[in-house]
């Protein structure tokens, strides 16, 4: 059922044919290019393989951002189905996450490209990548439930929510690695679960080391907290969707 919802979502949002994979790549590649220019040429904060370091943040953030945008309109998009038949509405945020994970998988090529550009050879630490990807997926899924509800409750705030998520990127160690920050900024950025996710990608792909435990556990704990609160709320609200969507 999730597969059917995700396939229909992919066709609705991204169209058909080979060109759609180009659409998936445009955003992360363009964002990586812009931020690389900003960091390397405008701010002159080169660091270690800055393009790869930025890609390690942009690629996972792409999944979180795209899932949020998708989930914000996910209930309304399926309004005609919701008003017509009974099915497990809890699958809607899950389908949003699966849909965007397919686009996310395409954007992983950016990481491989940047590793090749900077001559960073993969190490045994790459074996951690599936777990790191799984943590990213869990985090995106946890964000999808509140996004679906907020998109239904306050559709007029969708643009603001997207801006808020984008702000969360800048309040994390996205453009510069956590190791390049100091003092209060370092502490503050560490509190953002996105920082943990970004750093886990850097550990595995850039530094060639195992991710620190907090880099995996902190976002998972954050995701479990969000899921614990919002899946219950979503469950209570889903029987009322048909009253609200019209």
């Amino acid at each position: 059922m999730v597969g059917a919802l995700a396939i229909s979502d992919l066709r609705t949002r991204y169209g058909r044919g080979r060109l759609r994979s180009i659409k998936w790549l445009l955003d992360p590649y363009a964002a990586a290019g812009v931020y690389l220019i900003l960091i390397a040429f405008v701010l002159h904060r080169e660091g270690v393989a800055p393009g790869l370091s930025i890609a390690c943040a942009i690629v996972p953030f792409q999944l979180v951002m795209a899932t949020t945008i998708n989930a914000l309109t996910s209930v309304q998009l399926r309004g005609s189905i919701i008003a017509n038949m009974a099915f497990q509405r809890a699958l809607i945020p899950l389908a949003s996450t699966v849909t965007e994970s397919i686009a996310f998988a395409a954007s992983l090529t950016l990481l491989a490209l940047m590793m090749a550009v900077y001559g960073v050879a993969p190490t045994i630490a790459v074996a951690w990548l599936p777990l790191v990807l799984l943590v990213t997926f869990a985090f995106a899924l946890a964000v999808a439930f509140p996004a679906a509800l907020v998109g239904l409750w306050y559709p007029e705030l969708n643009t603001f929510i997207v801006s808020g998520v984008r702000t969360a990127f800048f309040l994390a160690a996205g453009l510069v690695a956590l190791g390049q920050t100091h003092g209060g900024a370092h502490t503050l950025l560490s509190l953002n679960p996105l920082t943990a996710i970004f750093e886990s990608y850097r550990d595995v792909l850039l530094y060639g080391q195992s991710p620190a435990a907090w880099e995996l556990l902190y976002p998972v704990a954050f995701a479990l907290l969000l899921l614990g609160v919002f899946t219950r709320l979503y469950k209570r609200e889903e029987s009322q969707f048909a009253k609200v969507i019209e």
Partner: protein, 240 residues
Amino acid sequence: MSGFVGAQGLGVLFRFDRQRRVVTPAMARLRRAGPTVWGLRGVDFAVGPGEGVALVGPSGSGKTSLLRLIAGVLLPDEGRIEVSGRVGSLLAVQAGLMPRLTGRENAMLLGVLAGMSPPQTRASLEAIKDRSGLGDAFERAVSSYSMGMRARLGFAVADCHGADVLLLDEVHEALDHEFRETVAERAQAIRGRGGIVVAAGHDHPVLEGMCERAIHLENGAVAEDGPFERVLEGYLRSVG
């Protein structure tokens, strides 16, 4: 195959905010609460195997809410409803269709959501195409369909999954005369196998072709329940 629908003290509550927008209970807590209105309240009835029941009444009387409760689209805020048998529903002209998908893709999605496995659904697609009478349009995006074509596809999908309880809400009124006959025939066939048809609308001759019993709803309550002709007469008298 047999269906049953029973309701006891059924109620649906609509909450509004100060701007008269319908809100969910959680939204009502977040926004400044407005009035509450019972869309249905104290509704009791039972529909047994082989019955066809028409819901008549003015707009806003609760017909759509009642059909949505039977379909499981809404849960009652009060009372209880029991439905046995597979439900096939066509509760809006949009018929659960997503405009950017083709007829075939919509049929596939709705089949799986209705509880069929993907292989089962795939196997039924040609039958749905034939029953809908859409021909080549089945492969085109639903956004290019007329309301009648959407209703045809929606009905073919709802009917093709072996519905024991068929629910129709005014949708048949968007259909052309040829397909209305098809709908009436299919409704009779479902009832003949012990299934149930519950249809709402304002085209009373069409309803009479499918149902021998009617429930007149007025302000969210059952005003009269009985033989179609008698109930319709009472309803028409009440609206002058």
